[in-house]
């Protein structure tokens, strides 16, 4: 077996079918608001995009490192508050000007991630989860009590100048732009050395350390990166709504939702969180509109998740990929080679 052949790896990743499907999805996303113009649908689409970004960037940290962070609402809400404060202090108006400040919101969220990360990342596994939850509640309580965040009534964001049915469209496209950047980054990370090290940390952190991986720096970087995108899209989300206050900014259901979405689609994959967010968020919005009963959507959400976790424990995307792979290789599959041969056959030069 030549080195070249073995270096090539499985070709299935770049199959034409997959590229074709990807292209179709991109086309749909790009043209959606042009084709479907009613505000209700475009709102749902916008929310779906927001969660796709949030779930994807959550995945950049939690999916790749295996550390379940259940406090990301901290960054989402901070993005919203940041935008509001920036707009009022810099005298920036609504609409396109406020969009220009979005990257700054992301940076602010990433900066907040530094102290949070320094505290939380000292712990492992389930202790880490609890610490992120605790930090989340600290932020929620602080926002309610501290002056400059406007207490329980929160702060306002400048109103965008568009009206009527075209109000949603710019928001939609900006969200789409953020999504493209987020997914691109997620893809880059996955293919990069950085991503490989993250995955190594997920599998065996101590051993990774022993192989020279600077795990501390690595985890904090991934955490900050993840916070950046969530902060950015948080700013956009609250810009759309027009108001940010503690209950909505720091909502425990948000924390769980993005985790569930990433999980549903497949943690650690790129398409997984996108699929999960698209499906679950649209479902939630649709149910809320049609039934206007919070209880039913809660039950449906929980039940759906339980079903997925029991039947497809690694998420939908990996389960489907596995199924397709198995069908493809069924003809050529053989049992594992006897252990003896593996050690002996290669030995004779």
């Amino acid at each position: 077996m030549t080195a070249a052949a073995t270096a090539a790896g499985p070709a299935s990743r770049r199959s034409p079918a997959r590229l074709g499907a990807g292209a179709i999805v991109c086309l749909v996303l790009a043209l959606f608001p042009v084709v479907i113009t009613d505000p209700a649908s475009t709102s749902i689409a916008f929310y779906a995009l927001v969660f796709m970004v949030a779930a994807s960037s959550w995945n950049i940290f939690s999916g790749y490192t295996g550390y379940l962070a259940l406090g990301h609402a901290v960054f989402f809400g901070s993005g919203g508050y940041a935008l509001s404060l920036l707009c009022s202090h810099l005298g920036v108006g609504g609409g396109w000007p406020s969009f220009l400040l979005l990257p700054l919101c992301g940076v602010i969220a990433a900066l907040i991630a530094v102290p949070v990360g320094l505290v939380a990342l000292r712990t492992r596994r389930h202790t880490f989860v609890v610490v992120t939850i605790a930090i989340f509640f600290i932020f929620q309580l602080a926002a309610t009590n501290v002056g400059f965040t406007g207490g329980t009534s929160g702060l306002f964001l400048p109103l965008a100048p568009w009206t009527g049915s075209s109000f949603n469209t710019p928001f939609y496209y900006v969200a789409l732009a953020v999504l493209v950047v987020t997914v691109g980054c997620s893809w880059f990370v996955r293919r990069s050395r950085f991503g490989l090290q993250l995955l190594a940390v997920r599998d065996d952190e101590d051993r990774a350390l022993g192989l020279g991986v600077k795990t501390w720096r690595l985890k904090l970087s991934a955490f900050m990166l993840s916070a950046f995108f969530v902060g950015m899209i948080g700013g956009l989300y609250f810009d759309f709504i027009g108001q940010v206050y503690p209950q909505t900014a720091f909502d425990p259901l948000f924390d769980l939702s993005i985790a569930l979405m990433a999980f549903f689609g497949g943690m650690g994959t790129i398409a997984g969180p996108l699929l999960g967010a698209a499906v679950l968020e649209s479902l939630q919005q649709y149910v809320t509109f049609t039934f206007s009963n919070a209880a039913i959507y809660l039950i449906a959400y929980g039940v759906l998740f339980l079903v997925v976790i029991l039947l497809m424990p690694r998420g939908v995307v990996p389960a489907v990929t596995d199924y397709l792979n198995r069908r493809r290789t069924r003809a050529t599959a053989t049992g594992g080679p006897p252990e003896r041969l593996a050690g002996v056959a290669q030995v004779t030069p």
Partner: protein, 285 residues
Amino acid sequence: MIDGILTGGVYALMAAGLTLIFGVMDIINIAQGVMVILGSYLSFELSVHAGIGLLPGLLITVPVMFCLGVAIEFCFMRRLHDQDRTQMSILVTYAVAIVIEGILTAIYGVDYRQLSASYVNSSVHMLGFYLPDIYLIGFGLAVALLIGLYYMLYRTQFGRAVRASLQNRTAADLIGIDVNRVRMISVGIGVAVTAVGGMVYGATNAFNPNTGYDLISRLLAIVVLGGMGSIAGAMGAAVFILVINDVVAVWWSPTWAPLVYFVALVIVLSVRPQGLFGHAAVRAQ
């Protein structure tokens, strides 16, 4: 401050259930908070619609919650694989919590309720303090149950089976312990205590289906602070946290109080990740 100790006792009981489930199953039951609320609603239902008093009502609610715990273990917890088990359990039980919350919201709506009985508003005058009867009763119940729990674990054959199953599953199997049954019953017990907690909590606080979040965050803080898997730790941490909560509420401001104990939790965990009384080592199976 005495209030703190008394309510601490009740929180300790609920936290003990949570930590027992973790100890035996390596599972963090996020639904514990909403189950307490479920217990409150059950007591509510019995007292308002069936005319059964709060204390006698426990004779019904406790077995019901026990069965619920058993059912959840059988349906969901058993399916979790050993890899990443604890983290998966967080997601699963969170989902279960959402479902329960949804069901309660559908039935009762979002209005706040509170349990009432003759002794809820009366209090005993002791040592210069007014101690509300209900706190005393709750505390007494909690202590009694905790002692019972301790006794079960360390003095009975079943208790030994529980401890054995958690320390080495394979060996327990080979000794003839029915590990599945042991786990099921342990989870049942862990959940059954929420019935008691629910009654006391419901009598002393207004509640609605959403209150579960607040509760579970406190219970988690207690359990992690005390060390996951350590019942003694949960008890100690519960009292510690609630005393701090009370002290801060009185000296500083009631709204800041819960904040302080999350901060305390974060500080303790950064310095000592296994909690005050927990084991640092990972259990070998």
